[in-house]
């Protein structure tokens, strides 16, 4: 299969490319970054695109920017991620299969759910399978190429259950709520601070916090009911800031 592997870790990318070509006869092109990936997608035809979610250099650069200057939820560019490559891939006429090849961790869990629910990605392979072999990645590539489901047990647990409420029906449902989640994720915690960086009034911010908590409790049943939703919302937004501020998510849900 013709595979585009989007991986910024040069050594890992080289290793994966060699093994996938030698052991499994795939033809692998490596893209070291998102721009590189988009360039390859515009120039060549691929059967499968293998993509990670968060790329360290992009996350580090975003964190540095966040600390050094005040960012706003409406800024054009905040954090680019592998989700951007997936949306570009989905726009291609003969859409290649997509494999998310990542290490599951708390910072990526909402991205994984979003990729499953909204971007309809069905092949998920963990980078830390334990065996050290790339056989699971090969299986995921084969499954994605044949439009079959594949999720190893390490990454599969991150995917939503059948009875889960979708992110699009909860956290991402209302435009105002999305804006407030993004403001909270950027460190604007009070109604005054949020009103300053969004086109909404303080009163609106205060009024919807209860509804936002309600939506959060649908997504995450572990979040308790409280009369003061703000601390819980702040905590959730902070620990999931890379998702709320993701450029691809913001583009699909402005």
């Amino acid at each position: 299969m013709r595979v585009l592997l989007v991986e910024d870790e040069e050594q890992l990318a080289g290793l994966a490319q060699r093994e996938l070509e030698r052991e499994y006869s795939h033809h692998v092109i490596v893209a070291s970054g998102l721009r590189d990936a988009e360039k390859h997608l515009g120039e060549q035809i691929f059967d499968v695109v293998v993509v990670d979610i968060l790329y360290d250099p992009l996350v580090t650069e975003f964190d540095r920017r966040r600390r050094s200057q005040p960012l706003r939820p409406t800024d054009e560019n905040l954090l680019a991620s592998g989700l951007s490559v997936i949306t570009t891939t989905l726009d291609i006429k003969q859409t290649p299969g997509i494999v998310i090849w990542t290490s599951g961790d708390p910072a990526r869990r909402l991205h994984l759910i979003f990729a499953y629910e909204d971007l309809k990605v069905r092949a998920f392979c963990s980078k830390r399978s334990g065996s050290g072999s790339l056989a699971p990645l090969h299986q995921a590539i084969e499954a994605a190429g044949a439009r079959r489901r594949y999720a190893d047990t390490i990454l599969g647990v991150y995917l939503p259950g059948r009875e889960s409420f979708a992110l699009s029906a909860t956290l991402l449902r209302e435009q105002a709520h999305r804006m407030f989640w993004r403001a909270l994720a950027l460190g604007y915690h009070t109604a005054e601070e949020i009103a300053d960086v969004t086109p909404y009034a303080k009163k609106t911010v205060r009024n919807v916090m209860g509804d936002m908590l309600l939506e959060l409790r649908r997504v995450d049943l572990g979040v308790g009911d409280t009369k003061k939703p703000q601390p819980e919302l702040v905590r959730y937004a902070s620990s999931n800031r890379y998702f709320f501020l993701d450029d691809a998510v913001r583009k699909l849900y402005p």
């Binding site: 580090t60 964190d63 540095r64 599951g104 961790d105 708390p106 869990r109 909402l110 759910i113 963990s126 830390r128 399978s129 334990g130 065996s131 050290g132 047990t153 390490i154 990454l155 599969g156 647990v157 991150y158 995917l159 939503p160 259950g161 059948r162 889960s164 005054e192 997504v219 995450d220 049943l221 572990g222 979040v223 308790g224 905590r235 620990s239």
Partner: protein, 388 residues
């Protein structure tokens, strides 16, 4: 380049901690001022118009307290707001002298009229970082100057208004001075408390950092040395890589259980990785669920114990089920091994018994379910929220 962690209590951190602590107190200070004005209007001998004026002033302070509570107070706002508050405190003795009459001002030996008014701003000024850091050396002199003005103002007024001030006048002025000096000292003590709170925070972070550093040094570094030494012995090298991976992942798992809320998928994922090498596992979809720390520790322990049990009894494959019903989390571990009697849960020496005790402490339980087709089925239940 990765950022270098900072575990130092510098002036900047101490100042920001103080600012955050004081932000919530300013409305209370204004409320206290409103109360003392209202009390003076009621108790002290003032004219009817004076009384009305004081009640109106108390009401204005009440509104200011509300405003400070909803937004921010004079110190947090800084600049003209701070000057306005201090100016009002300086003006108040003159206002009171006018309202009660020249001979009546400072007549009580207890304290001059409305002597408590400057207490709140004077206390806050003693510790709040209202002065810029780069001119910090000037601050003590300025603070003492402000304190002196507040202390001397009633005395000068008494000397000006009374032809022959008596013992009662001096006693009242002295008591006022003492009150204001004590308020200033309390302010300094509060400042020290803020610094101590920030220091405690940094100390705690330092301890966590030290634990992590020791772990990296003793466990991770040792394995790396062994790996380097066995670079030409592929079998040994593979073994050390496995050990290192386990060490790192166990450390990661411990850190995962540190915060107040724990993402459950991460916890399951880690156990799937560990036991996936030895068991064929069917895992559930967890999604975005997070659980409180105590529940996470219980579920982590349950997965580790129950899957270890399955490995020891050769009970392959194992199905791991998880669902939440009416706020109760339910973990099922079903295997096709030889099974074991339910009485194992009652034996105090077994890990399953300890697990059941912990589950019961948290309002849940551990059950051994009958499985006619053979194998074992253990079900652990625990409420997600403590109130259930």
């Amino acid at each position: 380049m990765a950022e270098v962690p900072k575990l130092v209590l510098d002036e900047e951190l101490a100042r920001s901690t103080t600012r955050k602590l004081v932000a919530t107190l300013e409305s209370v200070a204004l409320l206290v001022q409103a109360g003392s004005i209202a009390l003076t209007a009621t108790v002290d001998r003032v004219t009817t118009n004076g009384q009305l004026f004081l009640y109106a002033l108390a009401f204005v302070h009440l509104l200011a307290a509300f405003g400070a509570h909803k937004t921010s107070g004079p110190f947090t706002r800084g600049g003209p707001w701070l000057a306005l508050w201090l100016g009002a405190a300086l003006l108040m003795p003159l206002v009171m002298a006018h309202l009660v009459g020249a001979q009546e001002y400072g007549a009580s030996p207890a304290c001059v009229q409305l002597c408590g008014y400057p207490v709140a701003p004077l206390t806050i000024i003693a510790f709040y970082p209202w002065w810029s850091l780069w001119r910090a050396h000037l601050r003590p002199a300025i603070e003492l100057g402000i304190l002196a003005v507040f202390v001397l103002e009633p005395l000068l007024l008494v000397l000006y208004l009374h032809e022959n001030p008596g013992r009662a006048n001096y006693s009242g002025v002295g008591a006022t001075a003492l009150t204001l000096i004590i308020a200033f000292i309390i302010g300094k003590a509060v400042g020290r408390m803020c610094a101590v709170a920030a220091e405690a925070q940094v100390r705690l972070q330092n301890e966590s950092y030290q634990t992590l550093f020791n772990w990296l040094h003793s466990e991770v570094k040792d394995r790396l040395v062994l790996m380097r030494q066995s670079i030409d012995l592929p079998d040994d090298l593979r073994e050390y890589v496995d050990q290192l991976e386990d060490i790192v992942m166990r450390g990661r798992g411990r850190m995962l259980l540190a915060p107040e809320r724990v993402p459950l998928a991460e916890l399951f994922s880690e156990q799937m990785r560990i036991f996936g090498k030895r068991l064929r596992l069917h895992a559930p979809n967890i999604g975005a669920l997070t659980v409180r720390r105590a529940v996470a520790i219980l579920l982590d322990q349950a997965l580790a114990d129950l899957l270890t049990n399955a490995v020891q009894h050769g009970a392959d494959p194992v199905e791991v089920g998880f669902e939440v019903n009416n706020g109760i989390a339910q973990l099922d571990i079903i295997d096709k091994g030889s099974g074991f009697p339910a009485s194992v849960l009652d034996r105090a020496t077994t890990s399953l018994h300890r697990l059941r005790c912990t589950a019961r402490d948290l309002g849940g339980d551990l059950h051994h379910l009958v499985r006619p087709e053979g194998g074992a089925h253990l079900r652990l239940t625990v409420p997600l929220h403590p109130s259930l």
